[in-house]
Amino acid sequence: MSESLNFLDPSVLSGLSNLELRARTVVEGFLSGLHKSPNRGFSVEFNDYRHYQRGDDMRHVDWKLYARSDKFYIKQYEDETNVRVVILLDVSASMDYTSGSVSKLNYGITLASALAYFIMRQRDAVGLITFDDEVQEYIPAKCRQPHLMRILRTLAHVESGNKTNAVKPLSDLAASLHKKSMVILISDLLDDEERVINTLQNLRGMGNDVIAFHLMDEAELKFPFNEASEFVDMENQETYITSPAAIREAYLENLNEYLSFCKKKCQRSGVDYCLLNTSEPLDEALSAYMTKRARSF
């Protein structure tokens, strides 16, 4: 378990330049720790036969063919896509912040890649939307293998943008969804969080499952600064000179109030909320997805 966790460490993952490799590392590492999970196996549509091999599940033996040929054949099924997952990745300027080796954006890209890989591995359809105050990239949800590569290529070339405005992409998405889907929002939510969560609530009300991954940097959560400094807002370049030691308590109080609001608001709205510290491994995010996926389907 500890070995797999090492592979999920963001700082280790950030050293992997190939995004597919990074996503696979995350997913395989995660799955190796879940080999006894009861949620595994969910194929639906017949595709081919193969000879029975020891260890195969007896439920998948084609008994009619056995009656005709006296041989055990295992029915192989083509996975049926019954879930459409759309990943929304916030690429605004604030996502570029980092106090260590991994920025929130990099962490989000890795998370999105892993989720896409994981979803495709389960034969679900996955799409991608990157946005700041506008939709930057839109890839519709599909389940074919080349589609994953497209998503990964898109993620590999993501650059940070402008100010965050998640409301508009989410509204556009809500208008385009015709089937029950799962919406995964990866963002630092440094926007008008109440409107964003209201929009997520609308998506939830349309029958979609919604997961909000709220990314926060370690420094944002603990505000470890000491020396008097001029703080520059990365999104609007506004500045503020202060002595952190004097206001740390007030900052953390304001932050916790904000985080608490986000969490409660999401809970009330039926949105799964997951606060992620970018200095911690990704398995928590994947667990959250798996839990949600199992509960929904």
Partner: protein, 672 residues
């Protein structure tokens, strides 16, 4: 309050360290890119304001801590506490406060007053102190007294300096005498002065203060002074009417420590400016300015020479008076008148007295038969030239004339009978004539004369006249022999009679008995003799500050009053005497007649050159006087004794100070 170690007060500069740290580190805080500042901006404004106030309060606290530490290093003590300790040895002190004219320069005297008050402030309860103000004379304001508060009040009431000159030695002697009666052994003299160099006049090198008397010199003089002074003005005191144009000379000198080479000198007569001259001293120390003026009409003129262009006005004016008198009326009684000039007894005398139109004499010549009391009354002086035939009535008239104030000059010749002369002029003659007792084969000359007499004082020279004839004279006891022949017989005798004066010459004033009329001294001798006979009551009109002026020298005036230059009445002593205190014109009214007197400052006070106080100290301090007797040294010694065993404080305080400085640095590094 005093400090035991005041050198540490320099450490107050260390209070700037926290401020410097605050200011240096305040500049350019580092920029930090952050995802959002929304949570920073939501922090309370009060919190930020409080934080700023906290910083300022912290800064002030640190600076205050350093200041207090530095003060602690300096070891403050209340002066009274040290004074109480020193009071165990009470002091008898004399404060000598200079009030000479030079102390009027700028605010010198106010500084002197402050110094005196400062000395009083350091006096303890058991001390006794005397106050003396001095210039060329001293005024004992308060004898030795333990009532310090009253002395303080007296110092505040001391009048501004007058116009006296400075003298140190007489006043130090006075202080020395005052301290002879001092209660305490600890005796001190405080000399507060501008230490004008002229104050060292009358120095007595053999005199010292008594042993044990400490001297503290307090110099309040200006280091740099600028002054143009009138050190001398020469003007005629008395003139006869219709006199020629007179010259008035003024000597201007730069007497300050800073040389001033230019100024303006003006002359005013009777309040009207008559001339003005620019003075350029150049590289010279002084310049003589010449004014010309006419004094034609009879009367008294007041003149003022004033210099301007410096910063010290008290010595810029010099005052003088000029008395213009009427011509002297001379009545000559010619005892041997003749149409032939060589036989005329009055020929040579007439040439000497009335030879020119500009003569100051109005000459009337009569023969003896024409002499009358009326003619005498119309003359100021009567001259008898070889007159031997006067009637007794004429002689009585002459006697009355002299008694009532007339003057008489007698030059007897061969027409005079000694017995008749001695009888007719017995009352008034200064000497009796004697008949010659033997034959005189040789001539006589003037062997000796009174060089101090007003007539003969300006006639210093060789009296080479030969006297082949003369009258031997027996001078009266109340007469003064002014000239003697070489045979010791009197040649000129003078006597006052009544209100008049009589002079008797032993020979003639023509060439009959001597050749004096051919000598160069003849004319001035005649002129000076006549002037002297007429102006017997020449009043002194020019005085200096500090002089005593007697307005009625003869004591005959019925009413005398006087006003000083400012117009206020002068209080007279013995109805006629006062001491001049202020430069300017004193106006006196004597029996209804007004007279003006010029009073001037002493030129030496214009010299602002200074003497080093140490020079005076070395000159007067007694070698047996221990210097530790002074209050200052006692206090310093007491402070040293208090401070020495407690120096451990220094090291403790140094450690505390270093710790606090470190805290200031570290705190700024951590919290800012």
């Amino acid at each position: 309050m005093v400090f035991l170690t005041p050198i540490f007060l320099l450490g107050l500069l260390a209070a700037l360290i926290p401020i410097a740290i605050h200011l240096i580190r305040r500049e350019k805080p580092p920029k930090v890119m952050f995802s959002t500042i929304r949570f920073l901006k939501k922090t309370s404004k009060k919190l930020v304001l409080f934080q700023q106030l906290q910083q300022i309060a912290l800064l002030l606290l640190r600076a205050a801590v350093i200041v207090l530490l530095v003060i602690a290093f300096a070891r403050p003590l209340f002066n009274q506490s040290v004074a109480r300790l020193v009071d165990a040895d009470p002091q008898s002190a004399v404060i000598l406060l200079d009030v000479s004219m030079s102390m009027r320069y700028g605010d010198t005297f106010e500084r002197a007053r402050e110094e005196a008050l400062d000395i009083i402030g350091r006096m303890g309860g058991g001390d006794e102190v005397a106050l003396v103000t001095f210039s060329d004379s001293a005024q004992l304001v308060r004898e030795l007294d333990t009532d310090i508060a009253s002395v303080r009040a007296l110092i505040n009431e001391v009048d501004a300096p007058g116009y006296g000159s400075t003298r140190f030695y007489p006043n130090l002697r006075l202080a020395d005498q005052l301290l002879e009666t001092a209660q305490f052994d600890n005796r001190a003299v405080y000399l507060i002065s501008d230490f004008q160099d002229t104050g060292m006049q009358d120095a007595d090198e053999s005199w010292k203060l008594a042993p044990g008397i400490a001297l503290t010199t307090i110099d309040v003089g200006e280091v740099e002074s600028v002054n143009l002074a009138l050190t001398d003005v020469r003007s005629p005191e008395q003139l006869l009417e219709d006199a020629a144009e007179q010259q008035i000379l003024a000597r201007v000198r730069s007497t300050g420590t800073v040389y001033r080479d230019a100024g303006e000198v003006s002359l005013s007569i009777n309040g009207q400016m008559v001339d003005r001259v620019q003075v350029d001293l150049g590289e010279r120390s002084e310049e003589v300015v010449t004014f010309s003026s006419l004094f034609e009409a009879e009367g008294t003129y007041t003149g003022e020479v004033r210099v301007s262009g410096d910063g010290y006005s008290d010595d810029n004016a010099f005052y003088f008076t000029v008395d213009v008198l009427p011509k002297i009326r001379v009545l000559v009684v010619n005892g041997e008148a003749s149409e032939n000039w060589f036989d005329d007894e009055g020929h040579w005398f007439g040439l000497a007295v009335g030879g020119t139109d500009a003569s100051p004499f109005d000459l009337q010549s009569v023969e003896s038969s024409q002499l009358s009391a009326a003619a005498l009354r119309q003359s100021d002086v009567a001259v008898l030239l070889n007159v031997g035939d006067l009637t007794n009535g004429q002689a009585d008239a002459i006697t009355t004339y002299v008694e009532q104030g007339g003057s008489l000059l007698i030059a007897p010749g061969d027409r005079v009978e000694p017995e008749v002369f001695n009888r007719q002029f017995a009352e008034i003659t200064p000497a009796s004539l004697q008949r010659p007792t033997g034959r005189i084969d040789d001539y006589l000359v003037i062997a000796d004369y009174d060089r101090r007499h007003p007539v003969l004082r300006p006639l210093v020279g060789d009296w080479t006249a030969r006297f082949e004839g003369h009258w031997p004279m027996q001078a009266r006891d109340d007469a003064a022999v002014l000239m003697q022949f070489d045979n010791t017989e009197p040649a000129l005798v003078e006597r006052d009679y009544g209100q008049g004066k009589v002079m008797l010459f032993a020979s003639t004033l023509d060439l009959e008995w001597n050749n004096l009329a051919l000598q160069g001294l003849y004319l001035p001798f005649v002129h000076e003799t006549l002037r002297h006979l007429v102006q017997t009551d020449v009043r002194q009109r020019a005085y200096a500050v500090g002089d005593t002026i007697n307005l009625d020298t003869q004591g005959s005036a019925a009413s005398v009053s006087a006003r000083n230059p400012s117009g206020s009445d002068i209080r007279l002593v013995d109805n006629a005497v006062f001491t001049a205190t202020t430069p300017g014109f004193v106006t006196a009214t004597i029996d209804g007649n007004e007279a003006r007197y010029a009073v001037n400052f002493l030129p030496e006070e214009s010299n602002l050159a200074r003497v080093a106080p140490a020079t005076l100290y070395d000159a007067v301090i007694n070698p047996d006087t221990s210097p530790i007797q002074s209050r200052e040294v006692q206090t310093a010694q007491m402070i040293e004794e208090l401070e020495r065993p407690q120096r451990m404080w220094w090291y403790i305080l140094v450690a505390v100070m270093l710790l606090i400085l470190a805290e200031a640095v570290i705190a700024n590094r951590t919290y800012r």
